[in-house]
Assembly symmetry: C2
Homo-oligomer: 429 residues x 2
């Protein structure tokens, strides 16, 4: 069944500018976009059901490249410490609670609902070490019809006993999830890649012994699974990694030597202090950056040099990083990405600050590439989209681009009237 | 008629910590707080009407120390330039439209409604050069029952002809407003100081000839009116002021020599680059800082050294600075104030970052002091308050302080169920 949607289309085919198609049409079949046009007649529309969203904006849905589902309870609080003591004092105690499936069920459902509310249809998610509650989270995403790469977290040192797991248990737990959730990782697979899949997730080097890192790398390669972790977020953390892995030439190299740095598709969160050799290695290995500016401010980590990454040709997406970040809306993370880059520019004028199309592109087409053909309105892309009714913000003859900018800066969940993931409208409550 | 309100009371009597009174009572008479207690019996409650807000939080209302009402249309857009070209390209063209009373009426009503929506009950407001639309804005505040110091803006150089006014016309326009709106500026006046009053408002040194600045200073002293302007926001601006007023030892001195720097109560917005002699002069003259972190990020101005100001004993409040700032909610400005201070700290570890009680105190008791006894729940203070029903955020046994922190980080206008200004409940629509 072909469907055609009419609205004002705004998206970023390229990094540096918006495509703006006023009163235009998108044709969708089997979850994928089969045509985009300003006049209906140029589409094969005879058998299609047409939905007219009137004066609304239609934009690609948001992708969150880095978020900790079990930190949802701590969102918007406990912001008085830097990364390492913050983990010990606030984060680990909360994650321990996810041994309790009942607790996990209640909080994970709220978390997924809130992702949906703010228009995020795909996410790279850290769960906890607990296999059962990780499975539960994957089921919740699956029931919702939203896309997620969900990681059972590997950790076995420098953390509370309750969050420590043996390498064998980690491997076994991961394999049981891999068996249950088909893991085929390919962009043009037939049948289509499942929406919810496992992702190999060593927490970060300080939490993982070399054996744990090696086992994670082996799982990734054996099952051709993507990898996510944290990289160069905080100066104390980097010094600690250097002490723990003295033979590594940089933090990134400590992943690379265990097959966790681009051997399969890899996304690393933060990269605040990535430079020199580590930057070169990321480029060489095609490792993607999950830029989390809200978190980097809240935990006083620093300002990631995103302009430098882009000029180097690195792929960059955005992450909310709940609960280091407080804002689950990727629209607000875009605002923070621009603002942080302005502070960076203020101190390094050769690094021009990020523009609105650039951060929009990061959140949509660039981040979306980690999930397949996701994040743009081009034929062959999966139809992940949001309908924005911004009439309460649009009271004074704004252009379509001004309307989008104002929605990003001023809007919230109230203006999102419809959400689509892989062609299907996702409704909740 | 005495009224008593029951709820969880949270406020900052001192800068460094919250007062948290669970299930407690505030007694209000003639707009002022006459008693605060945890048990009703300790208040004289016999003749009082008691309102129970149940499990809601009751906090002081927000004060916005720096906002441009005629830039409301540009809120959340046009963020691609630094201060000086931004003024020329976006701000001045918009302000010109306020020669049209019809336009002003439509936009100013929306602006005041939005201030109300986000819980700001008092504001220091820049209008435009236009006397009639400035008067209109004052009437709108007066009708609403909200507090505002509103400035007809003085400007006569380096700006479009349409926004230029002669010194005589500026003086005459101000005097007509002063006549219409009683200007008596005293904290314990009987009858109480009017809620809406004029404030002397030279735009900033580059927009005002020495004659204009002198005339503004004379008006302030003659009518004992407060003063507001901009100070040391941007490096190019500072260099320009130095070129325009070469005999001034610093930007602040260029105001001081015309009687506009603490000769009457004065608030200066930004102070991003204030240091050394200017800082000393502000301290000596008791000039207050309106810290506008959102704007300072959006216009790539820099990070104001607020910890240094506090240690020096300067008074600091918060400002939204619409439309340099995009966020009219002072709660969100608090978040940005903490985040900016964390970036400052990240680069200057001796300057510890701002805490939640500190920014709350800035937005309430500290900023409130510019309007009288406003911003705290202490006997003798005017009852400016917000009722926060955060039940949708409070799903997991949070403490009262955690609930407040989460509201500040995650909440919006939807959780504000009642707003009070000087004891009166302010309702709109």
């Amino acid at each position: 069944m072909k469907r055609i949607y009419k609205a004002h289309l705004l998206f970023t085919k390229e990094r540096s500018r918006f495509e703006v198609l006023e009163n235009s049409y998108i044709a969708v079949e089997n979850g994928c976009i089969v045509g985009v046009a300003s006049d209906l007649s140029s589409l094969d529309y005879k058998s299609a059901e047409i939905t007219d969203f009137g004066d609304c904006l239609l934009i690609p849905a948001m992708n969150d490249l880095h978020v900790h589902a079990p930190q949802y309870r701590n969102q918007g609080m406990a912001m008085d410490l830097e990364l390492l003591p913050w983990l010990q004092n606030y984060t680990f105690p909360e994650e321990m609670k996810y041994a309790d499936l009942h607790y996990a069920d209640s909080l994970y459902r709220r978390f997924v609902f809130d992702l949906w509310r703010f228009g995020t249809m795909r996410a790279c998610v850290f769960a906890t070490v607990h296999t059962d509650s990780t499975r539960l989270l994957m089921h919740i995403f699956q029931e919702a019809g939203m896309g997620a790469l969900v990681g059972k977290v590997g950790m076995n040192r420098n953390c509370p006993t309750e969050l420590t797991e043996s390498v064998e248990d980690m491997t076994q737990g991961c394999e049981s999830l891999i068996e249950e959730f088909p893991q085929f990782y390919a962009q043009n697979s037939q049948p289509p890649t499942p929406l919810v899949r496992p992702i190999i997730t060593p927490r970060f080097v300080p939490s993982c012994t070399p054996e744990m890192l090696r086992a994670c790398g082996e799982l990734a390669v054996r099952y051709q699974l993507p990898v996510q972790s944290h990289l160069s977020e905080n100066k104390d953390e980097i010094a600690w990694v250097q002490a723990l892995e003295p033979e590594s030439s940089c933090y990134g190299d400590a992943y690379d030597r265990y097959g966790l740095f681009g051997q399969t598709p890899t996304v690393m969160a933060h990269c605040v202090w990535t430079d020199g050799e580590e930057l070169e290695l990321m480029k060489r290995r095609g490792v993607m950056v999950a830029h989390c500016p809200t978190s980097n401010l809240n935990l006083a980590s620093g300002m990631a040099p995103i302009r430098k990454f882009l000029e180097k040709g690195l792929d960059v997406g955005l992450g909310s990083d709940i609960s280091g970040g407080h804002n689950l809306s990727i629209f607000k993370v875009m605002v923070y990405a621009i603002q942080t880059s302005k502070m960076y520019y203020q101190q390094n004028q050769e690094m021009t600050f990020l523009t609105l199309p650039e951060v929009f592109w990061m959140a949509t087409k660039s981040a979306g590439s980690f999930f397949g053909h996701v994040g743009s309105f081009e034929p062959g892309y999966e139809f992940d989209a949001l309908v924005i009714d911004d009439s309460n913000l649009n009271f004074n003859n704004y252009s379509l681009l001004e309307r989008l900018e104002r929605y990003i800066y001023l809007g919230d969940d109230r203006q999102i009237t419809h959400r689509f993931c892989r062609g299907r409208e996702i409704k909740m409550q």
